[in-house]
């Protein structure tokens, strides 16, 4: 009993406080110290865990999305894919189908369906073709055999088309040839217009 009291007093004296209340305060501080370290450790661990979780999940996310272009809506948006394939297929069939009598209509259609480089290209082709079509009474029918959308955004699409083209001179036998086209199309005001045509 006496030993304890002496120790207390000695401690109190060393820490510069006096009396029993000072000793109690010191004991509280001494007891709190490890507790606070424990809390800090917990906080640090929590922080590390949270950061690791966040980082890990973000890596997992990028792996899930790996390899796919998120902007390419070809096939993922079935409606839009069908629309562009249909519009471009119809346009190609229309601009490459004519008889000597419907040549003007075809040209008018082409003005609506083509734009930019494709329009210029078509004009040049048409200027060369028109006299021969009239003279030799040539007709051409283009059937779209298959259409595939290579890539598609809200405004631009690349489309691959396999065509059968049957040409016929008046009095001659029709002959059919295969053709493959890569077409670039742009959407303007809800309709797709062809801006580039490349034979494959």
């Amino acid at each position: 009993m006496a030993m304890t009291t002496e120790t207390k007093d000695a401690d109190a004296g060393a820490s510069g406080t006096s009396g029993a209340s000072g000793a109690r305060a010191h004991r509280r501080r001494a007891a709190r110290k490890p507790k606070r370290t424990g809390r800090r450790l917990t906080a640090a661990l929590l922080l590390i865990c949270l950061l690791a979780t966040g980082g890990g999940l973000l890596i997992a996310t990028s792996q899930l999305q790996d390899g796919a272009d998120p902007n390419n809506k070809a096939l993922t948006d079935a409606g839009a894919t069908g629309n562009v394939a249909g519009d471009v297929g119809n346009a190609v069939a229309r601009i490459f189908t004519y008889t000597p009598d419907t040549l003007d209509t075809t040209r008018q259609d082409a003005k609506e369906l083509l734009r930019g480089e494709a329009a210029e290209q078509y004009d040049r082709l048409f200027a060369r073709l028109a006299p021969r079509v009239a003279e030799q009474q040539i007709s051409l029918t283009t059937n779209v055999i298959r259409t595939g959308v290579v890539d598609l955004t809200d405004t631009t699409a690349h489309v691959l088309l396999f065509l059968d083209q049957t040409s016929e001179r008046k009095g001659g036998k029709p002959s059919t040839a295969a053709a493959q086209l890569s077409v670039t199309a742009e959407q303007h005001g809800g309709t797709w217009q062809i801006t580039k045509i490349k034979a494959r």
């Binding site: 906080a43 979780t53 096939l75 298959r146 049957t166 059919t176």
Partner: protein
């Protein structure tokens, strides 16, 4: 009164930031894992890559290195196409060796036309330029249009059918 920056406050801020990062990571992951269109887009791109590579492989053969060439053919194929290739292999080898033909292919463009991700079936169309060089004739190239069907295997997407899109006459009858 300005608040002092205490270690406690710093720790709290850090923890809040880390928690935000974790939640953000979680929601992104959840969205991606449950985003069917992202998974579908990934399959679409895999199908196109496998289809184009497969078409190129199956249109490439050098009589001087026929074993490797045909091994590549078989590794690009599955199902009916693989059975067909294996069945015709002996005859085909003879033909290629006697003609001394070297065939190369360049894919010009390709697109996926159908994809059933669940069933593991897909269709592609590929425009390709094939160049054939034989002992007798000068090398000649022609553009060809190929239709392929793919099936998902444990080893990725592989071609299960391959054909040239036929040309049909205007009357609908084959030429």
């Amino acid at each position: 009164m300005p608040r002092a920056i205490t270690p406690t406050r710093t720790a709290l801020a850090l923890t809040a930031a880390a928690a935000t990062a974790a939640i953000w990571g979680g929601t992104s992951w959840y969205a991606a894992a449950n985003d069917d269109s992202a998974a579908f887009a990934k399959s679409r791109d895999e199908v196109l890559a496998a289809g184009e590579q497969g078409v190129q492989n199956l249109q490439t053969l050098d009589y001087r290195d026929i074993d490797d060439g045909l091994a590549t053919w078989e590794s690009s194929a599955t199902g009916d196409l693989l059975t067909e290739l294996k069945g015709g292999r002996a005859d085909f080898e003879k033909q290629v060796k006697s003609a001394k033909s070297v065939t190369t292919a360049k894919v010009l463009s390709g697109a996926v036309t159908e994809l059933d991700d669940r069933a593991g079936k897909a269709s592609v169309m590929v425009a390709v330029r094939i160049t054939v060089d034989t002992a007798k004739e000068k090398p000649g190239s022609k553009e060809s249009r190929i239709l392929g069907e793919l099936t998902r295997t444990d080893d990725g997407w592989k071609l299960s059918a391959l054909s040239e899109a036929p040309v049909e006459s205007a009357t609908g009858a084959g030429q």
